[in-house]
Amino acid sequence: MKHLLSTQDLSRSNAISILDTAEEMAAVGDREVKKLPALRGRTVVNLFFEDSTRTRISFEAAAKRLSADVINFAAKGSSVSKGESLKDTAQTLSAMGADAVVIRHWASGAPHRLAATDWIDAAVINAGDGTHEHPTQALLDAFTMRRHWARLSGTGSEGADLKGMRVAIAGDVLHSRVARSNVWLLRTLGADVTLVAPPTLLPIGVEKWPCKVSYNLDDTLAQGVDAVMMLRVQGERMNASFFPSTREYSRRWGFDDNRLRALDRLGMKDTIIMHPGPMNRGLEISAAAADSPRSTVLAQVRNGVSVRMAALYLLLSGDTREPAQPVLATAGTAHTKESN
């Protein structure tokens, strides 16, 4: 695996390998010395064309826990103000000796161009490109779901997938890279996905995606879900007529207190509520839902560091010139996993 650009072309074995490695990385966070020397001497560059303190800090923490050196590069250059070109920026970083470039960009496909051209030699990790993909977010979401799902079934997480888990993803799917990455990864891991949104916020062609589609959040909840993932919605979208008002949006598609109570009433005591953050409390998710014991928002953030450590480790250690092979270690030792 030379790059991590999307979950769409992440094989099941590679995905499970990343999640299993992330479990071990999470264990490091519980130790006195929260550091591993695995990436000592390597340089990871955070190349962020879009502001995102949270994701950048998460990647920075991940790299540092593996003893890598981190350089933060807040690149200018938007559709409004053209700074240095992507090509020039990339070649400058390459000349500075970057081993991995973590790139977040407002243009869909920018990480793919970096990986496809000869501008840089480093491993490329997509930290979110436009409305296209956000693979590490989907991986940390899956990691969080997997721990929950495994705990419910009484088995360990290691080597497990999400077979049979019912996941509803609700919100602005059309503009969401988190939704796209999650749909592909959850499908690969065997979960059942339902997308819930107003028709204006679903892309043409969504009927071909490996998931169900619904316009009604209450019906979807009533049919039974094990995890509800709420996507951030921008209030300004009402100015482009995607929905008439934030009030109507919240009432129909927001996870409000009524729906929180509905989960209890329907006897779904183990259903978790997820959100990639940052949250618009009161718009797509009520404060009570965000703060309820069902909410995994903070766990998702914590797990983000472990998952990003796993991604960096798997991309940077080892001979990256090898042809892509499943990285999964052959299951051999029959050992039980002590819970973390």
């Binding site: 550091k35 020397p37 798997l314 001979d319 030792t333």
Partner: protein, 195 residues
């Protein structure tokens, strides 16, 4: 890595199942002797095959000293992240590290591995151990010592000394890790190749 050929590789068995069992019994007694008993003993196996060997040793120690709970003194120490050859070996996901409930601080930790060769795995294990806590004493027990050390590392307890040439391969097969599906459990140490 030597190239894989389809011609049968010359091999000779140097330890069979009974030999291995006797060696482990002797090592278990040596561990108790060096420690003057079982107090504060912790056995940490290095994956993959070090762990089942540690489990067997713990059982033998418990058989010799009834105050010992075998399961409570065994653990696994993964050293993948501490290796010095990470960028030459191909990516390997780490195995879990599991310490006994009573931890390793102030304990007598015996590292267990199947084969001692260059010594780099044990160097990585010492680095991993230091990040986990502060043992009072660290010792090393191996089933096979095949020589060719590249670092100043030596084992305290050795099952068998096997002088080998570097063109030979030492293969350890244990029933816990190497039983093929539907096949017979095997325990043996084989030297392959040479000349």
């Amino acid at each position: 890595m030597t190239s894989v050929t389809s011609a049968p590789v010359p091999a000779r068995t140097v330890l069979n199942s009974a030999d291995i069992d006797r060696a482990l019994t002797r090592i278990a007694h040596e561990i108790l002797e060096a420690n003057k008993g079982s107090k504060d003993l912790v056995l940490l196996g290095i994956p993959r095959r070090g762990y089942p060997l540690a489990v067997r040793l713990a059982e033998k120690i418990a058989a010799a000293d009834s105050s010992v709970d075998a399961a409570a003194i065994v653990g696994q120490l993964d050293v993948t992240m501490f290796r010095d050859d990470l960028s030459h070996q191909g990516t390997r996901p780490p195995y879990p590290t599991k310490l006994p409930r009573t931890g390793i601080d102030n304990k007598v930790v015996v590292l267990i591995d199947d084969v001692l060769y260059s010594g780099r795995t044990i160097r990585a294990a010492l680095d991993a151990l230091i990040d986990l806590g502060r043992p009072r004493i660290v010792r090393l027990a191996v089933l096979i010592d095949r020589g060719h050390r590249e670092l100043p590392i030596r084992a305290d307890h050795v099952g068998k000394n096997l002088p080998t040439s570097s063109s030979e391969k030492v293969r350890v097969r244990l029933e816990e890790t190497d039983t093929p599906p539907g096949g017979a459990p095997t325990n043996e140490v084989v030297i392959e190749g040479g000349s």
